[in-house]
Amino acid sequence: MSYGPRAAAADWVIEPKSDSIFARIAEVWQYRRLLGYFATRALQMLYKRSSFGWIWMMVRICAPIGLNSLIFGGVLNVKSTDGTPYFLFLLCGQTPWTLFDQSLLFITRSLERNRKLISKVYFPRLILPVASVSPALLFITILSLVLVATDIYLHQRLGIWYITLEPQLLLAPVAVIISLVFAIAVGFWTSVLQVRYRDIRYGIRYAMPMLMYLTSILWPLSHIKYGWARALVMLNPMESAIELFRYGTLGTPLEISTGVMAAHMVAIGVTAATGIWFFNRVESASVDKI
């Protein structure tokens, strides 16, 4: 079934029905170099044709955090559970969230942006959504640096290291991976739909901040212990990622039960699996309509 890279010996078939998902994933591996190429191109698009590209990027990711910190920490005086300075607390919540939020935005537009290429050249389209997380990866790198800088600054001022250097720190990258996988999983759906319904992007743009308020980013999860509000918060699999990230970096006790976390992981897995299925099914039909 393999078409391209394995060259000479391999026989291939082109049929009306799309290839199996596994064949497609194997193909992504064969075309893996494209990942790097598309990832680089997505990064280049970020600051192309703007003189202050890098500055805009910093503003784009740091401004919401600064603003939120000012309003919620400064004006509304929200307190973290264990006395961690609010800015640091917020930063640890918003880092995985920004990754999720920005990845999803870039993934959603990935097919639309490469329309011309898709209609001219064959390559496994699955690569596009996956590769387009690169700007978000850059953002999280910057945010991590900000996080470290904040920690050092707080140590200078208060003499406390807030970021723990315990083995649980390893959970932070795990949380990052969870956020990324979830974004890609949702993105499989949204990227294909975006080509057909341009509204998807706008929907996401407005839904994401609302979803953010419903996640324990601006406030500690310990504020909502029971009731429907907590159930609502628990519906979002990103909740696990955020809590894990905070637990890993700040050592904030996990407020979320293992059962709920397992359910979140299953939800992410199901979204990813159905997403790939949907993407694979619709992608071939989408090309001639593009």
Binding site: I14, L117, Y122, R281, A285, K289
Partner: protein, 428 residues
Amino acid sequence: MSTPKSLIVEGLGKRYWIRRAAEPRRGAMSRLDRIRSFLSIPLAHELLNSKEFWALQGVSFDVEPGTVLGVVGANGAGKTTLLKILARVIAPSTGHVRGRGRVVSLLELGAGFDDEATARENVYMNAALNGIPHDVVQRRFDQIIDFAELQEFVDQPVQFYSSGMYLRLAFSVAINMEPAILLADEILAVGDATFQERCLRKVHELARTTGLTVLFVSHDMEAITRICDRAIWLKDGQLHRDGAADEVISEYQSTVWERLAATSSDDFKGSSHVSKYGEITEVSLLSPDGRPIGSPRRDEDAYIRVRFRTHRARTRVRCSFELHSKGMLVLRSTQTDLQAVGPDRNYQAMVKIPANLLADTGYTVSVGVTLIRGEGEEHALVMNRALSFMVYGDQEIGGLGMSLQRKGLVDPELEWTLKLEEPNVVRT
């Protein structure tokens, strides 16, 4: 079959749902509509408002390795759809294609090229797009650049390239990807003659040595006859003819030219090829060995044969023909001597059109047979636009540069001399 085919196409079809006619603001709507009608299950109102259209239907053929297959047909006949399916850019609606080896497509000049990247970056990127392993490209990199003759420009962004340079790079990349099947859509429309020649040579060389199969879509019939062994003719999405390239092209061209045929002169107008005195039964174009052909080569003699039948006795006959091109009378030739013919007999008149007389362009032939009875009683049988044909250029690729230039209605080979005019000085 014992020989493995490199490509087997069976019952291939592609259905599109197109909007019914008389849609308001068609131009402005169409893009939005195309995006809207995107899922494989069309929405209800779209289903009601659209009808199916088969861009390709029931196309079957197979190709042996090493074949250069020309694909001809009018615009919208399904040529590009076929290539896009083979390139896996679009999925077929019915049928299937089985193939062997790597497929590299040149569907559009520089598709997948990033204008802001350099040639070097584009080569690697294009390779990745085609799923070519990195080491293969590394090995071939110099070869690619050499073939494209872009040594000095390797590290310049391709947006500063001329269209010729662009083509050279695109072709060179494609041909060096070790393809087993190369899909080329009108790629040779641009580019200078010498590079075209090199491309074609390379294609032939690879076809011979590595068994490269090429599917070559072009409107340039001359190029197809020159480089293709075989041709398929798509008509309204269906396979109309499949055979040796020169035969298919001849047939295709005569159909095309028939439609475009120029008008005849007034002399011949309004007459018929059948009358009570006789009839013209057939007019055909023959090669020197007497084979009916659709189009003559420029460098070969060709014959126009007129078959006719007479009904009356004591008749003398004189044949003539007119050659038109681009709406103008190119020449008229008439038999010089009258010949006596008997009643109810079949005759054939042949006239030789010498090689290297006509230009590489299209001509139509009108034929007249004048029957003369007694003292000057004349009846003319006329077959207007009895034939249309297009003359092919010289066989050698080297002639291509010339054939691209504008020509007159005829292009005879004239004798030229050039010599030094000796000065009128007597040396001592």
